[in-house]
């Protein structure tokens, strides 16, 4: 009895603490409990990372003017650094400075805007008057090569825009002319990453069209950290416009791309540091900016996910879902009574399914397991020892993955490439254990257990994919305490499992 009271006390405590914190966030901070269809927001975070050498440290990051002008929820975090935003004729930049920093440094700058996107790539009128094309200062063979490319492009174009399209078509052509090959080689030596963009810009300038570099970010949650994209900004005689060198003829879609900076300034300058770089992370937030700032500043322990920079927060997108999967496993095993292969294997399977089309994922899983099992039976004739046999299984699974990817690619199914998302060791162990059960307990049990695992994985997948569940897990992580209380209660469930009601259906008392 005493242990029962203790148990109840713990359950009540967990529920009250978890539920109370959630209620506080909801009532006091006004964060909605139900995920609504309100317009979501994009959060773009620039992370400046460098290695400080111990001297006076300064960093300058060019900023998106649209955001600063309209005060679109900009916010910087930089512990131990002096910080200000400089305005040079409408060009903004963030400046950090500190004395004697040493070791790895990370500075953050965040911008937030509605998911519809903002016109970051729209035409801009130059307030400094008509810009002049600048000469790139090439000489010798490079000069003459560039001249002939420009001449060819000019012959086929009527205005700055068609010139830009022509120049970049020639640069990105798979079998380019000899002149382009020569120029490319030179530019790749001088620049890193943005060689083609720089080449195009210089060619445009030589052709009399003012052009300069712009930096952009793709609005894509899945990517995680991404390097800046090098875009081209050119002057069409009236406005400055931005184009993607890989798709020079189309205007940019504000829902897919955000132009971080235009104006031709360097993106980042660091003094007193080495190995500096900018990494962008984009995430979508369902909660309006000001609410989130309240949450971050509320000082509650549970707000810690939001105390983290967006780049680190991305990791939690899936981590907070794992307990949901574990709960599903407990429910289906102890209350329904589904036998699975390995206790938490289905959760890992469900996590992989989250990142691909679930139907395709299941088919690929079954194909790999079936093929692997067949090869495993061939292997068993060789009488290998246990560990080498599992290792052999890993090799076979790898080969099967490659084979499946290539085959599905040729059949035009891009999803095939996602097969690598399955945890390899899980696959190998599933094959090994299944073949063991096959031999010891018969194929019926082996297939039933794999089927059970798949059912649990699919249920866990649907639970983890549910928007409301994700929303709670991510914005109200304290509700995990309530989930914990539920798991503890289930842990003490001594009633019959659903499967037992069927198992004992022929029970006859004598």
């Amino acid at each position: 009895m005493a242990s029962r009271i203790k148990l109840l006390a713990i359950v009540v405590l967990l529920t009250v603490v978890g539920g109370g914190l959630a209620a506080y966030k909801h009532v006091k901070l006004g964060i909605p409990m139900i995920v609504g269809d309100r317009p979501t927001e994009w959060l773009v975070e620039a992370k400046v990372a460098f290695f400080a050498t111990g001297e006076k440290t300064t960093a300058r990051l060019s900023l998106p003017s649209v955001a600063v002008d309209r005060e679109m929820g900009v916010d910087a975090s930089s512990e131990g650094y002096g910080f200000f935003i400089a305005d040079e004729l409408g060009q903004y930049s963030a400046h950090w400075s500190a004395d004697e920093k040493q070791g790895n440094q990370a500075l953050y700058y965040r911008v937030r805007f509605p998911a519809r996107g903002v016109e970051s790539a729209g035409p801009v009128f130059d307030t400094n008057g008509l810009p002049e094309p600048s000469d790139p200062g090439l000489s010798g063979t490079l000069r003459s090569a560039a001249d002939s490319v420009v001449r060819r492009a000019k012959e086929l174009s009527s205005n700055p825009e068609s010139l830009l399209v022509g120049v970049f078509r020639e640069i990105t052509a798979i079998e380019g002319s000899q002149e382009i090959a020569l120029l490319k080689r030179h530019y790749e030596e001088v620049n890193n990453g943005n060689a083609l963009t720089m080449l195009g810009i210089d060619l445009l300038n030589m052709a009399g069209v003012p052009a300069r570099q712009a930096y952009a970010v793709r609005l894509d949650e899945i990517r995680g950290g991404q390097e800046p994209l090098f875009f081209v900004e050119f002057h069409d005689g009236v406005y400055w416009r931005v184009r993607d060198p890989d798709a020079p003829s189309s205007t940019l879609d504000p829902r897919e791309v955000f132009v971080w900076n235009r104006g031709g300034d360097p993106l980042l300058e660091v003094g007193g540091g080495e190995n500096s770089k900018v990494v962008f992370t984009t995430t979508r937030d369902v909660i309006p900016m000001e609410k989130l700032t309240d949450l971050r500043d509320s000082g509650l322990l549970v707000a810690t996910i939001f105390g983290l920079p967006a780049s680190e927060r991305q990791v939690f997108r899936f981590v907070v879902l794992i307990p949901i999967g574990a709960f599903v496993v407990v429910l289906l095993r102890n209350v329904i009574g589904i036998a699975t292969l390995g206790t938490f294997m289905p959760v890992l399977l469900a996590l992989s399914l989250l990142e691909m089309e679930p139907g395709v994922g299941l088919v690929m899983f079954v194909v790999i397991i079936t093929a692997g099992l067949w090869v495993r039976f061939l292997l068993s004739r060789l009488n290998l020892l246990v560990v080498p046999r599992v290792a052999a299984c890993v090799v076979i699974v790898t080969l099967l993955m490659i084979l499946l990817s290539v085959v599905s690619w040729h059949l035009g199914m891009r999803d095939g490439l996602k097969i690598t998302l399955f945890p390899m060791i899980i696959l190998a162990w599933t094959i090994e254990r299944m073949s063991l059960i096959w031999e010891e307990e018969g194929k019926r049990n082996a297939i039933l257990q794999v089927l059970g695992s798949l059912i649990v994985a699919v249920v866990a997948y649907y639970a983890m994919r549910e928007n409301q569940v994700r929303y709670w897990a991510f914005y109200f992580p304290e509700l995990l305490l309530v989930l914990l209380a539920g798991i503890i209660l289930l842990g003490r469930y001594t009633g019959y499992r659903l499967s037992e009601l069927m198992r004992f259906r022929n029970f006859e008392e004598i």
């Binding site: 009488n383 246990v386 001594t494 499992r497 069927m502 004992f504 004598i510």
Partner: protein, 327 residues
């Protein structure tokens, strides 16, 4: 009373009324509170269990050798000598996993009970698998026992299609609670696993006579392959079987356990293994819910805490005697 839904399931209330114990209840109310985790190694490791049993005067199959290293395996002739029949089993296997029975020899090859033959090389490979932990709980490294192959008594083999039947007795705090015999069928392929189609035959605790039998959870009275009656067979040395089971409880310290026993033609009942989580199919085999017996035993334990083994067995035989169908 037969209801239409009994073809598909029983309601929880019906099962409860019959005292049926489910897995969750077994674990939460009987296994976890009565079986301390640190005692598990005693029963999970057959080398230790057998050592304990011998100290207590319980008869077990004679251990010929224990193979502990690859070097032992290389000298197979030393392990098995010139014996014609023997059993190889992993010390940490459970539920018959990894057990290899050799019934005879034919030149260089060994004969299994099913009649199939295997080479010395295949036996070595099986031993290597055992040592690598393929059959052990949690994949731990293991050792292999080479032991006497039980020559099951005639009464027993007559009820089994190949394979020797064994007797399982469930003991709770020293009280024998329920017993059954598991007999192989053609379908179960010599194995005594009820899931795979072996027969579960309930045994009267008072007399050691078979009283009820099930195949795939359904009541049967005849062996499906051998066509012999399964009910009303008297098991030999029933007193000794109960005594061995009770002693296993004392020597392991487990509060709730299942003891597997085989009856040898020559040596009588031999203890094979002790199980700290005995399964629930025994209820089907007897047609009695475990709770109907566990509750009275627990009550008796409360009111008479200092009974010795003999008194406990006497209590069980009196209280749990089957109401034999009036013939």
């Amino acid at each position: 009373m037969k209801r239409w839904w009994h073809r598909f399931f029983r309601t929880p209330r019906e099962l409860e009324a019959m005292g049926v114990v489910g897995i969750n209840m077994r674990n939460a109310r009987f296994v976890l509170p009565n079986n301390s985790r640190k005692l598990y190694d005693l029963v999970d490791n057959k080398v230790r269990t057998k050592g304990l049993a011998i100290e207590q005067g319980i008869a077990v199959p004679d251990t010929y050798r224990v193979a502990r290293s690859p070097a032992d395996i290389r000298r197979l002739d030393r392990l098995v000598g010139d014996r014609d029949s023997f059993v190889i089993k992993p010390a940490r296997g459970s539920g018959g996993k990894g057990v290899l029975v050799v019934a005879g020899r034919e030149g260089e090859r060994f004969i299994k009970p099913s009649g199939a033959t295997i080479s010395a090389e295949e036996i070595r490979h099986h031993l290597q698998n055992i040592l690598a932990g393929l059959f052990s709980l949690g994949g731990k490294r293991d050792v292999a026992l080479i032991e006497y192959r039980v020559q099951a008594a005639r009464v027993m083999t007559e009820l089994s299609f190949q394979g020797a039947p064994d007797v399982r007795v469930v003991i709770f705090r020293g009280y024998p609670i329920m017993a059954m015999m598991r007999a192989a069928t053609r379908e179960s392929d010599g194995r005594s696993n009820l899931h795979q189609g072996a027969l579960g035959i309930g045994i009267d605790i008072a007399t050691g006579m078979t009283i009820h039998a099930v195949h795939h959870g359904r009541a049967v009275t005849m062996h499906p392959d051998l066509k012999v009656p399964l009910i009303g067979i008297q098991l030999p040395e029933w007193d000794r079987i109960l005594e061995i089971s009770g002693t296993c409880q004392k020597m392991t310290g487990l509060g709730y356990l299942g003891v597997d026993i085989m009856i040898d033609d020559e040596h009588g009942p031999l203890m094979i293994e002790v199980n700290a989580r005995p399964g629930l199919a025994i209820q089907l085999a007897n047609g009695v819910g475990l709770l109907k017996r566990l509750n009275p035993a627990l009550e008796r334990f409360r009111t008479h805490p200092h009974e010795d083994l003999r008194e406990k067995i006497a209590f069980s035989r009196n209280t749990f005697a089957a109401r034999l169908p009036t013939a």
